[in-house]
Amino acid sequence: GAGVSQSPSNKVTEKGKDVELRCDPISGHTALYWYRQSLGQGLEFLIYFQGNSAPDKSGLPSDRFSAERTGGSVSTLTIQRTQQEDSAVYLCASSLAGLTFYEQYFGPGTRLTVT
């Protein structure tokens, strides 16, 4: 079946603009995760959804970052007033449930470049 999809695949934006990144999880997966992969760094956890609620927002780097999930499916990650340090690959993953032994399936990522 279809895997996790993300859009856009690439986004170039000017500093100060807002951007929205979209994630479509695998159908039936109740847990959804956002990560950020910056050049030379590992993957950084941003936020986790179980259904539509976000029990763990601890990784959001600043109040310019927000995320929502509606209908227990699609999620959007919004970055307001983008800064150059926001440039990274943003990865979304989903899993069957928020339990540790369920594998997380990753999307292809959105490469964000802030100029």
Partner: protein, 108 residues
Amino acid sequence: AQRVTQPEKLLSVFKGAPVELKCNYSYSGSPELFWYVQYSRQRLQLLLRHISRESIKGFTADLNKGETSFHLKKPFAQEEDSAMYYCALINGNEKLTFGTGTRLTIIP
């Protein structure tokens, strides 16, 4: 705070030689550890998890709680093993903490 350390950013190994990708962690609880792999132009995917005690594509990893390590090993490297490898730890809140990754290159 939990942390995962992969000391080698780059590792080159000749085809047929043994491979060991190092991973050390710090976590106060009982950890669950994983290795994820990203082949060129492919998505990040799970390679193996310690609780399964499995061997995938010839790779194994043993959790050593005394040394707080979860090194990934393969006795004979193959060219298709060239990829980026990430060690990761998960806590009870489902937050995966990744290491910075090791780029493995197999030299033909």
